[in-house]
Symmetry: C2
Subunit: 189 residues, 2 copies
């Protein structure tokens, strides 16, 4: 009851910025939203069709030659639905970090094994942080040219702050676990 599906609002939100094809929506999700949300084609395309039937979006054939291409545009009714959801309180923020699970149960496998997971997490975090800083560099200069740029930038700043915190934490964890297991050196590729 409390938990309604969010995919409708993800699509409506993206389409409130500009018109997109299903494929472009997927690309947006995989770049801009990927640090806090995800979705697959198997949920995007059917939802788009459903929302067209419900009058929240309109579809337009923009095929070039033989390559079929359908652009979706939000309607006023769709915008209203989005705004309505936007005023509702947040239902749930959740994280599911398998890395933390493996750390929590790490005593069964030992410090050495656990350090490996932390180092993998650290490496991934560093890469993502670089990407986020790239977004930041693009968005910061244009943040006053459009509201959407500012809001986008603020979510990027969230990613940066949290990823920096992750890295700081990784260092502490490694230090602590290497006390457990004094032979362990920094592993290099």
């Amino acid at each position: 009851m409390a938990n309604t599906k969010k995919i409708d609002f993800v699509l409506l939100g993206l389409l409130s910025h500009e018109s997109y094809t299903g494929y472009e929506i997927k690309m947006q999700i995989d770049s801009a939203l990927k640090y806090f949300w995800g979705a697959s084609y198997g949920s995007i395309y059917p939802t788009l069709n459903q929302m067209e039937q419900d009058g929240y979006v309109t579809k337009e054939n923009v095929s070039t030659n033989q390559r079929e291409k359908i652009a979706y545009t939000i309607t006023e009714s769709g915008r209203e639905r989005l705004r309505e959801w936007l005023t509702l309180p947040v239902e749930k923020d959740e994280i599911r970090y398998e890395t933390l699970l493996k750390l929590f149960f790490g005593s069964e496998a030992g410090a050495e094994e656990t350090i490996r997971h932390i180092e993998a997490f650290e490496k991934k975090t560093e890469q993502q942080l670089m990407e986020l800083r790239g977004f930041e560099a693009v968005l910061k200069p244009i943040k006053d040219t459009s509201k959407t740029h500012l809001y986008y930038l603020l979510t990027v700043e969230f990613g940066i702050e949290t990823h920096e915190a992750y890295l700081k934490w990784c260092k502490e964890v490694k230090k602590e676990l290497k006390k457990e297991n004094p032979l362990q050196q920094d592993s290099h590729l």
Copy 2:
């Protein structure tokens, strides 16, 4: 294929620390794991029964008077299965933050509305941070008495670092959004 369910390992992991009833497992998940994982009775009880049939845990009736109570204990085979999973690389760490979604699409609702979500997030973060510091205060003095305490503490430190980062970020976001909407004052209850 890549994504196998984790509930088995959550239960096995908890039972590797000590024997529990299904009810106690749920309490553990809702206190120690809740910052990075969740599970409901509807998945806990059936999984426990399945794992008993598979020989990963044994059950023991520990009912007191009329109150039925079943304690589960991990077997050597269960421990092996846990250790095996522990050596496998992490498949996925994910976050699903509705707050970030509402911020990303915030331009449709406006700064004032969006600030409300940030303030709600900030308040919840402060409460959770207090709870995490409580855990830290308990665990820090005993971290050398058991490996499990140390690993538990490290996950608590993760919560503390990230929640502090959240709070820092909330301040920046509020500052930035209030520029957008200069009439907005700090809201007080």
